[in-house]
Amino acid sequence: MILVEDKDIVVPGEVLAEGEYYAGRGTFKDETKVCSALVGLVAIRDNKISVLPLQSKYIPKRGDVVIGKITEVRFSMWNVDINSPYSGILPASDVFGREKRDMNKAFDVGDILFMRVVDVDEVKKVKLGLKGRGLGKFRGGLLVEITPTKVPRLIGKKGSMINMIKDHTKCEVVVGQNGLVWVKGKPEMERVVENVIKTIEAEAHTSGLTDRVRDMLNQLLGNEEDKEEEEQYEEELIQ
């Protein structure tokens, strides 16, 4: 028997279902009960019950793209804060190859980089790399921080939300899976994007968000756009 409804807000320890159900993400099994492990929104798909967190820290996964800040320059690597309980290292060899160069001149403390998580070992040591399109150091622009669980909502289905923001504001927007977002464009447009991102974060768990964001952009920029379909973001989150 399922004791909650889709999209209900639940708390840790709350019993979601009893019987033959599969415990999805954000839940755990206690004998025959499926219980929530988190504060989040219930997602029911057939026999599988999940809870989508409303708040959480970024836990690095191999293959993710993240935005990080150089916190220390060492002999053959940089320490990087990736907005996570686990900081990363960027090996010098990944940047210079075999050549020996002045580390500070490449990247210094306070620099912001777009990187890929190359490896996460069993004790959560995180290795970062710069090989790939668009990866490297950011110049100019500004940084916005959101809860990492809201990243799929900011991107939208197949990038619909983020593309709408880019089209309206003519800003470059780069989203790290660790909840950091880099924005570059005209300074006043950068601030518009910042406001829009903060709104998406605050209202991520509500429906009809794409429409509201479009209205907000139109209002802030004073132009009009055709209506698009409202997207469902839960699909992408649950997988």
Binding site: D81, G110, F138, G140, G141, L142, L143, P187, E190, R191
Partner: protein
């Protein structure tokens, strides 16, 4: 450990301020939203919870009877203490007060002491032997920039809120009557205005982000009669004389707004 400010944040915030704008949309000489409540802690003689933006401080005033300091035997004692609680910011560590916390306590203390805000003579009970001791304890709950102005405003409000028992002296004995409480003897009011130097400009009430990139900071304590009663320069870069004079003008103007938040009468 101080957090490292991203270089691009330093650039974008500085560029905006050079154009007379701020990242949060404020004017250069504008405070964030301020709220002030008094009488929030019943167990304290006086209390206040102050918020400037998301910076939040709880302040309590306590009194007890004790011995005067040997060099000032005929006046009461007051002490100001603050704790930068580890809950207030990820980089605040538990432990004895560090230099930032001591500076905050001392600057707040100085404004009240040198502004002659409390009539300490009236706190003497038996000259040379027994006096009222007044403690101002500031609990920093949430740190989002500009603790100094919040502390000064909250401390002043807590002092104004305070009611201490009536103490009378009979045959060289102090009789404390908790049924008859009375306000602290206050002469004046004081608050503080902090300006940060960023790029080519001075900005009022620096936010956390602005404090992270400011070159220097000047805090000015002003009494309600307009007199300047304390100052503190902070930060690693110097000021020009003209900048300080300009800061004083701004502080004398802007403290008028702050006095409006204090309890009336």
């Amino acid at each position: 450990m101080q957090p490292i400010v991203p270089e691009i944040t330093r650039e974008s915030v500085t560029n905006l301020i050079n154009e007379g704008k701020r990242a949060d949309g404020r004017k250069l000489d504008q405070y964030r939203e301020i709220s002030l409540e008094t009488g929030v802690i019943k167990k304290a003689e006086g209390s206040a919870r102050v918020k400037i933006g998301n910076t939040q401080i709880m302040i309590g005033v306590k009194s007890q009877i004790g011995d005067p300091f040997p060099d000032t035997p005929n006046v009461g004692v007051f002490m100001t203490n603050s704790e930068l609680l580890p809950m207030a910011a990820p980089n605040f560590e538990p432990g004895p007060p560090d230099e930032r916390s001591v500076e905050l306590s001392r600057v707040t203390d100085r404004g009240i002491r040198e502004g002659k805000i409390i009539d300490l003579k009236k706190l003497a009970l038996i000259p040379g032997k027994k006096v009222w001791m007044i403690f101002i304890d500031m609990h920093i709950l949430d740190y989002d920039g500009n603790l100094l102005d919040a502390a000064a405003l909250g401390a002043m409000a807590a002092l104004m809120d305070a009611k201490i028992p009536t103490a009378t002296v009979k045959d060289d004995e102090v009789v404390v009557d908790h049924e008859n409480m009375q306000p602290l003897p206050l002469n004046e009011k004081t608050v503080m205005c902090t300006l940060a130097k960023i790029g080519n400009n001075l900005v009022l009430d620096p936010s956390l982000e602005e404090e992270g990139i400011m070159r220097a900071r000047i805090s000015i304590g002003v009494r309600s009669d307009g007199a300047i009663c304390s100052m503190q320069k902070g930060g690693e870069r110097p000021f020009e004389k003209e900048e300080i004079l300009k800061a004083i003008d701004m502080a004398q103007e802007k403290t008028k707004e702050l006095f409006e938040y204090l309890p009336k009468a």
